[in-house]
């Protein structure tokens, strides 16, 4: 089982709760995904609106752990304040820390990310940093107190899959004992399977499921992809080679003209 900050999670698929056509479809998607962790956020609420309470009731029915995010935060201060508000609302020390540095790519601001991770760790949070595949940044985040890394596969919402396989492989190899989640950019179950085959502990996605024509079916597709990839990783895959090697034995072949 995957373990994050001492909590064992049966499913290696984490699923976002945004952009579904309806709450009912969100619920169906979660059921078929088997996801054990749901990402959530905090947003402004109007007086008398009570939308937050209704959404929270829906999430609790799913029976999953919640991982609140600081999505959309561009400064350290904003991310830290948002994390505190999320901790109170969701009653969890977990925070998916996003400090965005670039509006078009939603690339993390590495400097702000490390600073916010340090502040939040000192405040008692268990930080899941949304980061890139950069090894040096990964090391700085671990030094800041993070015990999980969440490198992107590709920019959020693009569905491009793993755009820097070499970088992700390097990051995985550099920190073999750190739980790592490929977060963002996945579009297809095959891409999730590939991340799992590379030895990542889990994947986190949202748009690929929520924006599919049939979100519930796609959720199950991702669940199967994650499971297939993990099984392959645990099964110790063969080494690829350049030249063909016959799989059927040559010994005993009839000599025919």
């Amino acid at each position: 089982m995957a373990e994050f900050y001492g909590t064992e999670v049966a499913s290696r698929l984490m699923l976002g709760t945004a952009q579904y056509p309806s709450p009912a479809i969100l619920e169906q998607a979660f059921r078929r995904s088997g996801a054990g962790i749901a990402t959530v956020s905090v947003r402004r609420e109007a007086g008398g609106e009570r939308a937050g309470g209704a959404f929270w009731d829906l999430v609790r029915q799913l029976g999953v752990s919640v991982l609140p995010n600081t999505a959309g935060c561009h400064s350290v201060r904003e991310a830290v304040t948002t994390a505190h508000m999320a901790r109170e609302l969701f009653d969890t020390k977990w925070i998916k820390l996003e400090v965005i540095g670039h509006a078009d790519t939603l690339q993390p601001d590495p400097f702000g990310l490390v600073e916010a991770a340090r502040i939040l760790t000192e405040d008692g949070f268990e930080v899941f940093p949304y980061t890139t595949e950069d090894v040096v940044l990964g090391e700085r985040l671990l030094e800041a107190g993070c015990k999980v890394l969440m490198p992107w596969g590709a920019p959020i919402g693009t569905g491009l899959g793993l755009t820097n396989i070499y970088g992700l492989r390097t990051l995985r190899a550099q920190f073999p004992d750190i739980p790592m989640v490929v977060d963002a950019g996945l579009g297809l179950p095959s891409q999730a399977a590939m991340a799992m085959e590379m030895g990542f502990d889990a994947v986190l996605l949202n748009t690929a499921v929520a924006k599919a024509g049939d979100p519930a079916a796609m959720a199950e597709g991702f669940a199967l992809g994650v499971k297939a990839g993990r099984l392959a990783f645990e099964a110790d895959p063969m080494e690829p080679r350049d030249m063909a090697a016959p799989s059927t034995p040559l010994i005993g072949k009839a000599f025919l003209k």
Binding site: G16, T17, A18, Q19, Y20, L26, T39, V40, S41, V42, R43, R44, E45, A46, G47, G48, E49, R50, A51, G52, G53, F55, W56, V59, P68, N69, A71, R77, E78, T81, T82, H84, M85, A86, E88, L89, F90, I156, A184, N206, T207
Partner: protein, 65 residues
């Protein structure tokens, strides 16, 4: 006094944050608050005295990725 609530100007008569939340329709709502970008825990709202021009953020659980 005039304060700013979630980016909009609002007139409130309450002087502390707890009373202001009730006045603005948030009584018993599942919300978290920040005043002038600083988080104010639920237990500390009654002791936060609002000043004219304060920026109040009131957030609640929402969908996220």
């Amino acid at each position: 006094m005039k304060i700013n609530v979630n980016g909009e100007p609002q007139e409130v008569t309450a002087s502390d944050l707890n009373a202001a939340l009730a006045e603005l329709g948030y009584r018993d709502a599942k919300v978290a608050t920040a005043v002038n970008e600083e988080f104010v825990p639920a237990g500390g709202r009654a002791s936060v005295v609002l000043q004219p021009g304060d920026r109040l953020e009131i957030v609640a659980p929402r969908q996220g990725g």
